[in-house]
Symmetry: D2
Subunit: 250 residues, 4 copies
């Protein structure tokens, strides 16, 4: 498969380029970015690109995707900033090019996706569940976006299964000791030098606990998910949101 | 639901009795065991038992189950010693009583079942996977039966998905340093005073790891699984092996 | 050594009795408590008791200790409620019986004591440190007393070494996400069914973390500390507060 | 303090240069290595270097150190290959320059040093102890050198304290399931993609465990130890082996 990378000069894009070049079944034929030595969008068709990876910027990603869809080029997109309006626009373009596939995913880490999935799947079977996320101390927000999303998925799964609230007899506490409350699920954020990005979901019932932990130690952790996306995007025409369905998780 | 417990004087059976009595939707009406103050099998029909739990002994469990199936009493069975021949015999009895359900499960811990399930489901998405089990030092066998079973499930899932062997560049090692090899998956057994029964599956790909850990801290950890079995056995006529299908895991 | 147990009918006292009976170098010769079949304090001298263990009640412990010190009986005390006034009173009694040793300790778990000790010792060598405690959900207070004490010891060790504040760039957060602040150290409390009593201290510097974790899985965890106290109390005349000095930790 | 770095073009040396430059109290004035744009040893005295860091090669380190000691320049040495003969030679040179300090250390990670230290200190207080090391799968040896050294330190501490053998009732096991035996202590080595270098020591007694874990996530983890060495080497004239004594650990 002939691949183009949009945003090829960025930190993430550069890792994607390395990973595509290292994969035997993929060929990197275009590297588009701003700057003198970069290709432009025209190069995609000139060089017969079949699928692109886009890690660019919310300001340019829609133009990139319109161009790709119009030319029947599949796209795997990690750029942020997609709201319902943008997704609807994308669906409209894809209606006119029904054989083309676009995958928009907020997260390409297979480990993070499985952690969230397993946590939500297990949550109705246990009385208790809490989320702990651990990051380097330069991070600006707490809890992390992934932890908040995990807690919401857990809360939704429990609501659907008719689970009651998690038990908690705390009657006296210091402010903050029991963490933040996200839809009834407690979330704790640690900030420790030396850490990268880590998350743990602890579920418990009488006499046992189940812990699901994801450790992200290096930026390259998203590359297997991007390659998986490239290999499967042609088989998923239309718009797909989230890598989950490519993982065989309904 | 009117419940009888077979093996009610055993350690496990006694916990089951306590759990049934504590459940609002279940009524404990018969406690069968050997000994003066125990009920006998006849009590099951006299008292209108709808479902039994059997934690007895391989020597008596088949007689117990024949009696139950003949009388249309559902059964949730944790007694060991079931081979294919016994399961076939059970199926034969159940053919003659098609509305009756029997669940035979080697493990009623929801946490242990989900750990094995998630490990096998995730294994094809990562290059590496190893299993560590940790128990008290009075345990006679290493690795534990659960760890061996987990490794086999992982190996089978990888084989089915066409995953290659796990990477390992070890060229010089002390005997045993890399653990035991179970179907190509490394399994490590720790024996430490103070521990009860714990297991961790560590999966890893470029830049990230996913860890699934089960801690069993108290014998009561199987009771939620037994109660789940009692509540669903009537809805699953015929023979079911393993609690997995009651958990909505195909 | 001939041992008496005061509070022998309590949950903790009963475990102490079992542990003393199982120890080859200790002989349990008196079990004092309220109730018909218990010994009284007079039995201690009648039976030649050399050292007692006291797990009774703040209301009676001072009378017990006055009696023991007057008769030259060493004492290992786990009963709570000791303030400076009580410790001064004890010292006064011991001045009059200079060969007698009394150990008053709030915690006999060797694991918990070492965890706190190591955490405080390591804290000045790392930029970051946070405390996580995990307990069953029936616990009334958060954070736990041990976690609060650990954070204070860490803060004191850092202040003495001239360490600066821990780094934290958090600018937007949900209430509670970053835990409670105890003397500048963040403390997080989890409440999960199935857990008993657990604590983790995570320290971090550039590129590395050091984690010290204590898991208390069973009430018997204090018995090795009590036996250690009994074996060493005669060699430590006068008042000793805390098991630390018996552990060779200054 | 005016600092020179020997081996400044190597991976480790380059990190040391960055760390020295970032430290307010240290000034990087010479970068010695082979190659056109490097300084030579003569630059050390010309530029008034007070202390060097040496991460070079066993073939050149002794020449480097003779030069430094002769000129009264302190040295912090991470180069490998020091045996008793080399250390004796070094002591001889230092006798002739009694105000000069040389620190030779096999490990500059404060976290790793404290892990080993705490493990050995705690080991006599627990019945059981095992070591688990976890590394990326490209590592050639198992167990790791650090794990072997940790096990030996633990075994020595237990022997000195008169501790008995660790309990283990294993009677049937798969080859390797119980790990490698290093002086009677079990050591387990995991190899998982995504990991860097990690080690865990698990100690246990009745009802409790104490776990000491070190995670090394990035090569920079040794830099705080090197800076600590630079800041203290002048206050430790003569030869010091191991960073431990600089850490106030006897």
């Amino acid at each position: 498969m002939r691949v183009g990378v949009l945003g090829a000069r960025g930190k993430v894009g550069a890792e994607v380029c390395r990973a595509v070049e290292a994969a035997e079944d993929l060929e990197l034929v275009a590297q588009v970015d701003t700057g003198d030595d970069s290709d432009d969008l025209g190069a995609l068709t000139e060089r017969g690109v079949q699928a692109v990876v886009d890690f660019t910027h919310p300001d340019v990603v829609m133009d990139n995707l319109r161009h790709c869809v119009e030319h029947g080029i599949h796209a795997v997109v990690g750029t942020t900033g997609f709201d319902d309006a943008r997704l609807d626009t994308l669906r409209g373009w894809l209606d006119a090019s029904p054989a083309t596939g676009v995958l928009v995913a907020p997260n390409f880490s297979v480990g993070a996706i499985l952690m969230m999935r397993f946590a939500a799947e297990a949550a109705p079977y246990f009385e208790s569940v809490e989320v702990v996320e651990l990051h380097h101390p330069d991070k600006a927000d707490a809890p992390s976006g992934t932890a908040t999303r995990t807690a919401r998925l857990i809360a939704a799964a429990r609501a659907e299964a008719g689970s009651g609230p998690v038990p908690d007899a705390t009657s006296t506490s210091l402010d903050g000791a029991r963490g933040a409350d996200v839809d009834g699920i407690r979330v704790h954020g640690l900030r420790v030098r030396g850490l990268v990005a880590h998350q743990e979901v602890i579920l418990g019932g009488p006499g046992e606990t189940l812990t699901i932990r994801h450790d992200s130690l290096d930026r390259v952790s998203f590359t297997p998910g991007v390659l998986l996306g490239l290999r499967q995007v042609a088989a998923h025409p239309g718009l797909t949101v989230g890598l989950e369905s490519y993982l065989g998780l309904s």
